[in-house]
Symmetry: C2
Subunit: 627 residues, 2 copies
């Protein structure tokens, strides 16, 4: 009854059927290029599920929060990633497998192979299962490897090539040699969609009438050059992301709608607990977490809560969802606070959404690089009036007295703070003052050249670089985990898997149409029912393959199809049709049009299965007329 009451299978159930899950559902839902790791294609139910999740995401975030949607290019000129700081992570030197032509990052190759050798060596030494001396690495080799690893970032392409040759470093996937490192500083395929938001910041701000806070959002493909992609969909080379960049006043990170989510209760694993070496989670409301300073600010808390609500809404098991705070040492230096939504699956706790307060870092680096100001100019309602000591020059006297030194004197005074200016004013009031330049040169000046006067300054515009709160979703990981959380198997037969998407609308196909056989006499009815369902807006699929009705239902249970209708000889004779519910395997019967009406209301969530049962009598099997 999971589809109706929102319950989900327990972790035990899921673990129990991990094997049939892999064997059956995973293959039916996802395909990948044979022999190419890290690239997955979504087949019909998978892409339909993905489209459903994306539609929900767009509704939950973009529409509900009036975000500005963007669609930027995957190909990005390399200077963008030099500026963003990605280049350190997405280095340029690549080597090719000489036989397969696969391209690997040279530094990753060196790192992975040497680390694997060291790890293997350590294991062998620990086990003391040393049969031959040759298996264990000599101490000087261990030291050399460790030295290489420590300075990996400093090697040039030629150095990396030399290392590969000297230490016989091969492609770990094929054991083939690799060629010379080559520079790949062309177009990058983006590793995240975020840079597209920052590059367009001025236009977005303009579109939002120059005001913050506002958020931009983008759903799109990103790429990571994983050396050895593993763990199925959890670590891939190409994936779909959904990212939000919420731009906010650094001095006011409150959120206008925070009160709406204040009472959302979440499971947290904060950094102090982790730094103490523990992993005890705490349950609390987002309001409490923000009030107690566990989550840095309201806006970050607001998004943590919204992420939670989204994940639950699409069917993630809340018992297997936690928010883990980044520890100081794993967070980027510029970030203020960062929380990962981690979802538990057969691979352990898996980061599926990141939510970081990145401060002003991104806009600042792009602005510095391009020389374009990326700032908000806020008209102040009440101009800020301040009194200030201001130097007033007699330029003519200054030039005449100091000639070529006039510039440096002026610069020195202009850069003084208020305390220094007050001191200077006092000295000038005494008749003269000494100004010392940064180079240590001293000049004596008089009130004829300079006076310092107290002035009233009225500031009507405040200029600032907004901070960025960035919720970033890995949709493939979420989809995969949702499959695990939705999958269970029949008590009577552990091999019979069922996918129960807690939200009905998540199911790729809503109704399966099952004629008793593929005989032509059923064709008109199959067409009639399909057409009527389509016109009612219900996505259906016909399974008229040459196998038993039970088997056809079973394999569509795996794909999460919630309802099935069967057309048999009784349908031809009496225009009746049976309706089956997936989780209970309950069957009801009624006139074709009434069954279509009932199933349509079920699909649109207007009635429950219990209510449907009141409208359609139970099917006792008598009505079937086999040939």
């Amino acid at each position: 009854m999971a589809a109706q009451d929102g319950s989900v299978p327990s972790a035990t159930t899921v673990n129990k059927i991990t094997h049939p899950f892999d064997k059956m559902t995973f293959r039916l839902i996802l395909t990948n290029y044979e022999g190419v790791a890290g690239l997955y294609d979504y087949g019909p139910p998978g892409s339909s599920l993905q489209a459903n999740i994306i539609a929900e995401w767009r509704k939950h975030f973009i529409i509900e929060e009036n975000m500005l949607e963007l669609d930027t290019t995957v190909m990005t000129p390399s200077p963008v990633f030099e500026t963003s700081g990605h280049v350190a992570r997405f280095a340029d030197w690549m080597v090719k497998d000489v036989k397969t032509g696969d391209v690997l990052r040279a530094d990753h190759l060196v790192k992975n192979v040497l680390e694997a050798r060291l790890a293997g060596d350590k294991k062998r030494k620990k086990k003391k299962a040393v049969k031959t001396a040759a298996v264990v690495l000599p101490d000087d080799v261990v030291a050399e490897y460790e030295n290489i690893l420590a300075q990996l970032d400093n090697y040039s392409g030629a150095d990396l090539g030399e290392l590969c040759r000297k230490h016989n470093l091969r492609n770990p996937d094929t054991d083939n040699e690799v060629g010379e490192p080559q520079l790949f500083n062309l177009m990058f395929l983006r590793p995240e969609t975020a840079q597209g938001h920052f590059l367009n910041f001025s236009r977005l701000l303009d579109f939002n009438n120059g005001r913050v806070p506002f958020a931009s959002a983008q759903i799109g493909r990103s790429f990571r050059n994983e050396i050895s992609p593993r763990a199925g969909l959890l670590r891939v080379r190409e994936f779909t992301m959904a990212e939000i960049e919420h731009f906010v006043d650094p001095e006011d990170k409150r959120h206008g709608r925070f009160k709406e989510v204040r009472d959302v209760k979440i499971t947290l694993l904060d950094r102090h607990v982790q730094e103490a070496g523990r992993s005890t989670t705490a349950q609390m409301t987002v309001g409490e977490a923000v009030d107690n300073g566990i989550i840095a600010n309201e806006t970050l808390g607001y998004f943590v809560a919204r992420i939670y609500l989204f994940l639950i809404r699409i069917g993630i098991n809340p018992q297997r969802l936690r928010f883990r705070q980044h520890m100081a040492n794993e967070m980027a230096h510029y970030a203020t606070d960062c929380w990962d939504a981690e979802i538990h699956n057969s691979n352990g706790w898996t980061e599926c959404v990141g939510c970081a307060d990145r401060a002003a870092y991104d806009l600042t680096v792009h602005s510095t690089k391009t020389g374009q100001p990326l700032v908000v100019r806020q008209a102040l309602k009440e101009p800020i009036v301040t009194e200030k000591e201001v130097p007033e020059w007699n330029k003519k006297a200054l030039g005449k007295t100091f000639k070529q030194d006039a510039g440096v004197i002026q610069k020195t005074v202009e850069s003084m703070d208020q305390a220094e200016l007050t001191k200077l004013k006092g000295q000038l009031a005494q008749g003269k003052a000494v100004v010392t330049t940064t180079e240590g040169k001293e000049f004596e000046i008089t009130p004829e050249v300079l006076t310092v006067e107290r002035k009233t300054i009225k500031q009507s515009v405040r200029e600032y670089t907004p901070n960025v709160i960035e919720p970033s979703f890995g949709l493939g990981r979420i989809l995969y985990t949702l499959l695990e959380h939705s999958f269970w198997s029949r008590e009577q037969d552990v091999e019979r898997g069922v996918c129960t998407f807690t939200a009905l609308r998540r199911s790729p196909t809503k109704v399966l149409v099952v004629p008793l056989s593929a005989r032509e006499e059923f064709d008109p009815l199959v067409n009639e029912v399909s057409t009527k369902l389509r016109k009612a807006g219900v996505f259906s699929r016909v399974d008229d393959s040459n196998t038993s009705i039970g088997k056809r239902y079973a394999r569509n249970d795996e794909l999460g199809t919630p309802f099935g209708v069967t057309l048999d000889f009784a349908s031809v004779q009496n225009r009746t049709m049976t309706l089956r519910e997936r989780d209970t395997m309950d069957q009801r019967i009624g006139p074709i049009d009434e069954v279509i009406a009932v199933v349509t209301e079920l699909v649109f969530g207007n009635i429950t299965w219990e209510e449907a049962c009141k409208r359609l009598p139970a099917y006792d099997g008598v009505q079937a007329v086999d040939s």
Copy 2:
């Protein structure tokens, strides 16, 4: 009144305002990386429009036709494109601009630069405006260039590098020199989504219970390495496509739903007209075109009609839409027939959708390469019973008589057709026969070794490679053209542009909320109206920028926002609000909740503007209370 009655601006109107169109709307809707041609980002209204078009496409094709949706990777292993035949077009040798690092295809560079030189030369010679002899190319250089162009496909990377040096071929965009050609046979970025369908054909067929016809569909990013992208969105390096691969029995290309589109009237430009050097189009129904053999078959005709209906539905002007048939010399050798949906815009007639019958080509090449059969096995209702001459060997006698030649003799006979076998049977009946191998060796055989017998063969399964009908949509071109077709300008001021999307749901924002000013006293009302519209499912946007109401309406007219509501001091005092219609600029007034109810019904298409006017009185300007 275009939004209500479905009319669209005339070509003249559009041409007249091409300049303000470029200056205003285009910039507001689309942004691109400065300095990088061929890469465009979609800003908020652009991506919202794109999302609307994609949603409509998914509904019109995938849902309505029960297609199997796919989502395959952008990165594709290179052997796929060797097999598909793309490698000839997407060659491996690339050169880098030595200064900018831009990457160009070496053969394209050679071709473009030499052709440009020849064209310039021809023009100069024709004009007879030869001032200095140096401007005109000597005849031997012209001959050399033409010779190079003729054998361009045969050059190696080294040859291409040599050509660039010898003839001083530079990057035409920057006039910089280029480096040595390098091989790029790594991962390709796909130039189309189609290969993903073919690679997954077996799984798709399986998912469809082994039956054809069925169609798969995919919406996704593709890439072309355009040397010099021009013409804005019409020729770009990265774009979103939507492709359908409809698999069909080669012996039965009828379509079950053809009768539904038989009477759709379209404008055709067939190949005979074009081959006669004319471009006179004909108006006819799709039924007539198929009946008269102008369109090759029903399935192709069905999709031509469905493409037409889709384009009209999203707002393309039917007067500026035609279907042009490929001439024999522009069609791939394997294709049976191909029609392009060409839409007229300021760049001329532009191919926006292709619709080709690609026969069995794609599946055949992949099957040949991988050795995997990509066929449909159709269980025949009536087994086909045929009588055939079949060779029957006495293997023992064959081996004993012919020893190591036994194999070749057997192979020769097994490969004979029925006529040859009948002849052989006759000879054997005379006592002996001579078998000649392909190498010309002759062997005399007797009935002791071989007899040929007439047998009855019962074939219960028919095996065939399905044909593919491929409708392929360039969504960026459609979007751009839709903008041109939707744009017009106010009679009273040609600089005041308006975008009228004929289908209301195509508008990125449905309702603009305009407070008289950004004063705090309007904030509660602005929030109330925004929240109520959001809850009603109406996408709205607030424009409280510091400019006149008229200017704010004008710039949102450009973005196609159909309705606007204004909140002023009267709203604060009396809870009234005005409602404005974009095309007529008509304004009505009413209580806030009633205006929200009316505009919601307008947005969902339940009532027309005329009906809305009956529910809300005209606004006479009196109600406004300015501060």
